[in-house]
Amino acid sequence: MMSSRTFRKGSFAALAMTAALVVSGCSSDSGSESTSSATGGAEGGSDANLAITFLPKNLGNAYFDTSNAGGAEAIEEFGGTYAEVGPAEAAPDAQVSYINTLTQQGVGAIAVSANDPEAICDALNEARDNDVKVVTFDSDTNTDCRDVFINQATSEGIAQVQVDLIAEQIGDEGQIAILSATANATNQNAWIELMEGILAEEHPNIELVDVVYGDDDDQTSFDKTAALLQTYPDLKGIVSPTTVGIAAAARYLSTSEYQGEVAITGLGTPNQMRSYIEDGTSAGFALWNPADLGYLAAYASKALIEGEITGAEGDTFEAGKLGEYTVEADGVVLLGDPYVFDADNIGDFDF
């Protein structure tokens, strides 16, 4: 029996050793980073702890890869330490353990896109109690859990840019329709209401004939587009304020006789829309620039760490190439007008 017992003990010792080696091995190659940030925090006072960590909703998401690359660019400009951590899945609670870890490591600031406005609140406030600044971007938490929120766009800005795009693409007159997400989607309904107001006020010759709902489902949106074109033979344009809808509508138009005849615009992502921009199905669409969003979040973090701003209304700070920004009510910093993607610039983006 002795040899089998030895074998068993040996195998578990090996298992424990493997685990131990992995732990020590991993920490030795990335440990220097966390050590430097920790010592940076310990020095405190004189030179600020510019260790800024980005915590996206989940890793491996092209949108956040773009925004975090913008953050990394900004942090390199002002000489801080950039890091990115995050869960594999965008679960509501998954970010909490990462926030706790960053609190323990004593980073200077966390730039986070919240999976849930409430679930990470306690953890963020604990971080702030330990002198970690908290900037939310893309998706906010409750206002009392963070110092500043970088808002990518306002509802007014989003509505305005879509009306401007469609008016330009159809020559400011004719019938248009809206292909939305679900009938009770809060964001889309707010935008549609604002768009109706702008159309009535500034574009009396454009007639909004119908609002249909593709339920943010690719096939449903595709079918609704087909139905719209049959119901309204004189339709000149479709606006889809949802990334699923615009891609499905563009896919339908690109293979139909209406390609180039009926305009399609709205909110989309470059990777989904690239081929439809290139083949002329769509002349242009809007969204914000995630790289700028991350860039601004990094500069806001720096301003908070250095005490230049506190998140109070009226505070101003410099954000490198983007210029000067002012903190609005509730600690909101607005990135600016939505960004229009067209044939000239779509090649610069990958998300």
Binding site: S11, S97, D116
Partner: protein, 372 residues
Amino acid sequence: MPNAVAERTAVRTYKNYSRPAWQRVLLTREMAIIAAVIGVYIVAAAVVPNFAAPITLTYLMLDIAAILLIALPMTMIIITGEIDLSVASVVGLSSVTFGTLYQAGLPIPLAMVAALAAGAVAGFINGFLVTVVGLPSLAVTIGTLALFRGLAVGILGTTAVTGFPDSWTDLATSKIPGTPIPTIMVLFVVLAIIFALVLHATPFGRGVFAIGQSSEAARFSGVRVERTKLMLFVASGTIAALAGIYYTLRYGSARGDNATGLELSVIAAVLLGGVSIFGGRGALHGVIAGVFLIGILASALRLANVTSDVINIITGTLLVISVISPSLLAWARSTWARQRGKRAAAGGAAPSAVGSAIPDAQPSPPQQKEEQ
């Protein structure tokens, strides 16, 4: 069993146990996991910056509390040879039940009772389909995994119920005064003692093991197989609902998609803790150590700035090793025993020598189970 044999046959030619007591206690799979937990903790405390701080323990225990709770009934279910994949969905369902009833104006304790009842009903549905209808638990609980999650998300949609009173949410994250240990661990320890006593010190618990060894044999020995399994599934649903309440209060947010995927963490920890997926063997202290091992590894690796993908790879590898190691060991032992048997035969042993060789050379099935 060996004692009963000893009473009947006054003279016997071999020892009651093949190994002395200290070896039977220490040289077990459970102890190996406990040693791994201690080893990893010491190494991590020495190597990973900030890991040794007491706050690490607090965060760690808050993170694994829900897994620890659900692992208690899951251990017993897996020992009977069944499985419950719907536990994380029951967590979501309980969270939503608790949240919506609180929102509707029910006092918190009443909403808690209702959430626990919802969990018990969910567990009863699983148990009914498995024992009365006679379907395999894997199929049943894959179905109810989708069903309960669907109900949970359907009730609340993509919204969340928040704004629970601070007194309750603070309780969920509070610590035992003067220690870094979260209060929730008191509840866990009480439940763990109850489950350990039931599993390891009662006829019901012996029945659980007997069902896992052989359902038929257990039935003929007087174990009420169906009733036992039904009770375990109800217990599983109820404890999952309890974890759901904790989850809701800890994050202050009742959502339908709370704890998505948690069932895999629980089952991984149970298997890592030495419970056989085929049923029939396992012990609660090993499972608890298994949960801690995964939790400590994840916590240490996060502090060392290792990405979540790598953490998943490491815990996955550990799990695979832990699942294949018993088979490897059994193979090694049988090969060794065969060789020794050949040696004994070649020596042309006298009858007395054969007698003494039997218990060691011939691995009797129950003994092997005990040793794996």
